[in-house]
Symmetry: none
Subunit: 181 residues, 4 copies
Amino acid sequence: MLDAAGRAFAERGFHAVSMDEIAAAAGISKPMLYNYFGSKERLYIAYVEQAGRTLLDDMRKAADPAAPVQARLSAGILAFLTYVDEHRAGWALLYQEATNQGGPLAAEVAALRERIARMLYPLFDDWPGSDEGLDETACEALASAFVGAGESIANWWLHHPGEPKERVAALLLSFAGAAAR
Amino acid sequence: MLDAAGRAFAERGFHAVSMDEIAAAAGISKPMLYNYFGSKERLYIAYVEQAGRTLLDDMRKAADPAAPVQARLSAGILAFLTYVDEHRAGWALLYQEATNQGGPLAAEVAALRERIARMLYPLFDDWPGSDEGLDETACEALASAFVGAGESIANWWLHHPGEPKERVAALLLSFAGAAAR
Amino acid sequence: MLDAAGRAFAERGFHAVSMDEIAAAAGISKPMLYNYFGSKERLYIAYVEQAGRTLLDDMRKAADPAAPVQARLSAGILAFLTYVDEHRAGWALLYQEATNQGGPLAAEVAALRERIARMLYPLFDDWPGSDEGLDETACEALASAFVGAGESIANWWLHHPGEPKERVAALLLSFAGAAAR
Amino acid sequence: MLDAAGRAFAERGFHAVSMDEIAAAAGISKPMLYNYFGSKERLYIAYVEQAGRTLLDDMRKAADPAAPVQARLSAGILAFLTYVDEHRAGWALLYQEATNQGGPLAAEVAALRERIARMLYPLFDDWPGSDEGLDETACEALASAFVGAGESIANWWLHHPGEPKERVAALLLSFAGAAAR
DNA sequence: TATGAATGAGCCTTCATTCAT
DNA sequence: GATGAATGAAGGCTCATTCAT
């Protein structure tokens, strides 16, 4: 029943889904939804919580505490990607939440991201950790990853306004710097 | 006038803002909004476009094409952070789009992100590019960046379902790998 | 509840009536109207359909299939007039649909009709089927009927553009011709 | 300029046409429309008046006052049909006014009219004024005319409530009666 | 005179939410 | 415990109408 809600939310966004639809998809009546969850928002949160718990558990289970850092990281990443692969709805809500995927609202942002990412391609021309030069696809992926890193650190910075801009830039640079070394 | 819309959207999200409010905040009447932008969606897009263009221009202007890659990247990052600093509203829309930040919907996701990030702290214990060990704050920032990189590459992967999971994991790992080297 | 809608539509026209008013007049809430009929248009159509079905049934019931043509016609006409008499709202919608009767828009048209009708009075000076000469009132009624016949056949002609004008005129004339014989 | 308004009104109905459109179609600015006509309604009425005057004049000119009744009627009918043929917009407004032609609002009524008309076909099986039996098309036309006569006389009756129903029925019947004789 | 720009008012429609059963 | 029926509150959008120029 909570899965039906999650699927609907993930596919069409929080606002585009009505409680009627969720109730219908779950095969129960609307007042029951309210009995169990209290409100649309709380229903949404319940689903996100469940999804988050699952992801976290998967990652924890994968990372053997006794293993060295590298191995733990590698296992964690694999667990993360496995989760993404197997729980599309959950991932969509966790990452994109109400990105209005598909709607015209998201297209602009996606386009901008790609243009910025493309500016980064030269950066990966001789990326370590891969013997030969990287192919186009890998460049795309890494550039996207780097853009995500930048977005995320910028957002972190918003919540730590004391940090000087230059230091944040240096930290972010060290990601790429590590590579360029 | 378009700024008023942007501020409102950034602060409360696309769906939570009504055209009445935007019109009031902009000091004009609702039909004018429709005269200029045609619909709520198009108004939103117009703002996002403007914000995106500005950010892109700022970054392009900052990166001297004649400079070496490292310098260009560094300058671009600084320009990016400057933009984030000076255009809070624009940045909020570009990054979080409709993440419903502020609403209780985002709190869960933020908490999850932090718990995952915390799993990464050990990774940065001897991070290169900084002579001494990193302080707590820097760890946070880098972990957040890494989480962002992971999210972003996972999302990229969703649009390139052909790539094997292991390869994506390896690419993401190479970020950390470069550091741990 | 559907009657309230019909009355309102008949009295003031489709566009002049708001769903709020209908809901208020019916003693229910607006969302209920939408629950039952889906849209203003479908509510309107539902009423027209009901009215039309009633009229048709009344006429059918009145015309005994075993009776000769004359008797059937006579009975049908009486049933028709009875319906008009007893279902003012239904009739108004069926005949005038959106003629905006009541609004100042209809006055012009009514005046024109009358002036044309008046041109026809001489036609009925010795109308058969009534022994003595027709009084003023009957002339009016017959003239109005003739005008209606003309309007209707003209409209029919618009949908059958192949027919030569002269033939249509002859057919219409045969109404009067029959009388004048 | 007033023609542009008429065309628009006739094609899409009073309510579906906006003053913006009329102004644009007429090649002038909206305030000019208001300068000349004062309001949308008065603009509409102005057009209807003009159309009505034209029709009436055409019919008057056609009917030579010196000619016998039959000839005058015949000429008048021809003039009427000619007007309908040559002034579609004018006729549409005079007859159907805001019948929402094409819209789903009119379909129901048109269907009902046809079903009633079809009940009348037997009536015209041996219609005088045409030597041989009437073909299908002529039956349609006459039935439509008769339906129009009925509608019109019923409407006349609504404004003369004193008349007994039976008398109205007799008058209407005499139309057909003349034929059946 | 002619208009671009502006608006007050209102309408259709939807939805989260709750009773009465 | 479960639901069908009902609603208050808003929201996006349009349009006839008018100033200021």
